[in-house]
């Protein structure tokens, strides 16, 4: 798999002697589905801001598609362009007067020719099913619709990696399901996705790789099966095992079920 982003020994602090990110090293390759777990203040959002180039690390190196980046304007811009960041609160991400102008903001900043800005905007509108809202002012959209506009605004920039900061927060179950479907679609398109979440059940079901941040350190980076088996680590980080994981373990199932459907299949196929 092609490498998209690599971080080596990244450290960042807002105040001296209070590191928010401490010696973070990891590699993200094409098509990966990564869940980033950690309690509040663990450094997840700061990590995303560093990945996107908004915050410049105090030390360490960032590589984008194998190329080592410096902290100059051009390299920072290439991080902005390639590592699309979807913020937790869509209200802060949206500045356009209508949905379509909002989505055009990123491509316009890339100084693309007008026909390409229009084409990318139209494509992003279609991908996020926003055709009926294109002329709507963002303040009159629901939370789920705003989230879709936020994602469309990033998709229009054609990033190589998507970073989603707690995307399901403030979403009702219908919109959360729609978001999951969209994430699945992006994964099929080969986008590496990193999702910061507190929802261990979602992480267990969706992710192929789990990262756990604790007090600014990357304390776990492995498959969900291996990470969720480490009970003491989860306890230290204020996390619990996913419900289906616990159920599967109690029933002695192998492999452990990821979804309710898998669990019911296990139960129905097992001898009475």
């Amino acid at each position: 798999m092609n490498e998209i982003l690599r971080m080596e020994h990244i450290c960042f602090s807002y105040e001296k002697n209070h590191p928010v990110l401490n010696d973070i090293s990891l590699k993200i390759t094409e098509g990966e589905k990564i869940a980033l777990l950690g309690n509040n203040g663990a450094g997840k959002s700061t990590f995303f801001l560093c990945c996107n180039g908004i915050l410049k690390p105090d030390s360490g190196c960032i590589y984008l598609k194998g190329k080592k980046l410096t902290q100059n304007r051009k390299d920072t811009f290439s991080l902005h362009e390639n590592a699309g960041l979807i913020f937790q609160d869509s209200d802060h991400q949206i500045i356009g007067g209508t949905v379509e102008t909002e989505i055009s903001f990123g491509p316009m900043n890339l100084k693309l020719p007008p026909y390409e800005v229009k084409e990318r905007t139209e494509k992003a509108i279609a991908e996020m099913h926003l055709e009926n809202f294109r002329n709507r002012a963002p303040q009159y959209l629901s939370g789920g619709e705003k989230k879709r506009v936020g994602i469309a605004g990033i998709l229009a920039m054609k990033p190589k990696l998507l970073l989603l900061d707690e995307p399901a927060s403030c979403l009702d179950s219908a919109n959360a399901k729609l978001l999951e479907e969209n994430l699945e679609k992006f994964a099929l398109l080969g986008f590496p996705l990193i999702i910061s979440t507190h929802d261990v059940d979602f992480a267990w079901k969706w992710a192929k790789r789990i990262l756990i941040f604790h007090q600014g350190r990357l304390v776990a980076d492995d498959s969900p099966e291996k990470v969720f088996a480490r009970k003491s680590l989860l306890h230290t980080c204020g996390l619990t095992q996913p419900l289906l994981y616990q159920t599967g373990e109690l029933l002695g199932l192998n492999p452990l079920p990821k979804t309710i459907e898998e669990l019911s299949l296990h139960i129905s196929s097992s001898p009475a």
Partner: protein, 262 residues
């Protein structure tokens, strides 16, 4: 939130929203200039009636909502005109005494007050015609086309967005305070309002920072630019109508300028 629709909501449902914002902007500006430049208040009164008629009938804004929105600036206008109308002294069209002070209305003060009232109400209705038919982002778009520096138009976009974010924050804070009896009596209300505004100021700082990060993450380079998706038809009938209106109003302006105020 308020039970009454805001200007923004009314504007989104206006029957005039399909007309090019540039055309509406220039017409409103033209009416405003004619109203302010007129030496006769009747030009202003005529424009107020005309523009209110267009806003209500063609824009399909209800009379109740229109009067409600107009009441605040109109209230200020009346107070200003009263201060212009009343002079100190004992001569003139009317005189009386209030708390031992002699007050009067002279012919000059009366014509001055009516002139200011006419000019202001004409300009006010022109602004309301524009505000109730053209969404703010479209007005900013027109300003950008008129080569207003990007810094100002960008700031306008951000302020416009922030208004809604702050309104929604204020609404949730007020509801939270109300639910804990923060408005049970006058002193408690005063204290709650103070706390809400202090918190709002703090939150607006952090929101501004987050908003800036979100813009930076999409390669913001100091100037806010959006693609112009406007697709207004250049209707020939509409063009003729606007031209006729311009000519008619100018003729009326010339006619009124030759007449005495009273």
């Amino acid at each position: 939130m308020s039970r009454h629709p805001s200007m923004d909501v009314l504007c989104a449902s206006s029957g005039l929203k399909k007309i090019s914002p540039g055309r509406k902007f220039s017409f409103a500006l033209y009416c405003m200039v004619l109203s302010i430049a007129g030496k006769n208040p009747w030009m202003g009164f005529f424009l107020a009636a005309l523009l209110s008629g267009i806003t209500l009938l063609a824009g399909k804004i209800s009379l109740g909502n229109y009067l409600r929105l107009l009441s605040v600036p109109f209230g200020f206008l009346i107070v200003s005109c009263i201060t212009l109308l009343i002079d100190m002294g004992q001569c003139g069209l009317w005189h009386g005494s209030l708390l031992g002070v002699n007050l009067c209305i002279t012919k000059t003060s009366l014509s001055q007050a009516i002139l200011v009232l006419g000019r202001s109400i004409g300009a006010l209705c022109a602004l309301y015609f524009l505000s109730l038919s053209t969404p703010v982002p479209e007005i900013i778009g027109v300003l950008a086309k008129l080569r207003v520096p990007g810094f100002f138009t960008g700031l306008m976009y951000l302020i416009y967005r922030c208004i809604f974010i702050l309104f929604s924050m204020h609404h949730s804070m007020k509801t939270a305070a109300k639910s804990r009896m923060g408005f049970r009596d006058y002193p408690t209300s005063l204290s709650s309002v103070g706390k809400i505004y202090a918190n709002l100021l703090h939150r607006s700082y952090s929101s501004a920072m987050e908003m800036f990060h979100a813009m930076e993450s999409r390669c913001f380079q100091g100037e806010i630019a959006f693609y112009d998706f406007s697709h207004y038809s250049t209707n020939k009938k509409q063009k003729i109508l606007f031209t006729l209106a311009y000519v008619f109003l100018f003729a009326l302006f010339t006619l009124f300028s030759q007449k005495e105020i009273l």
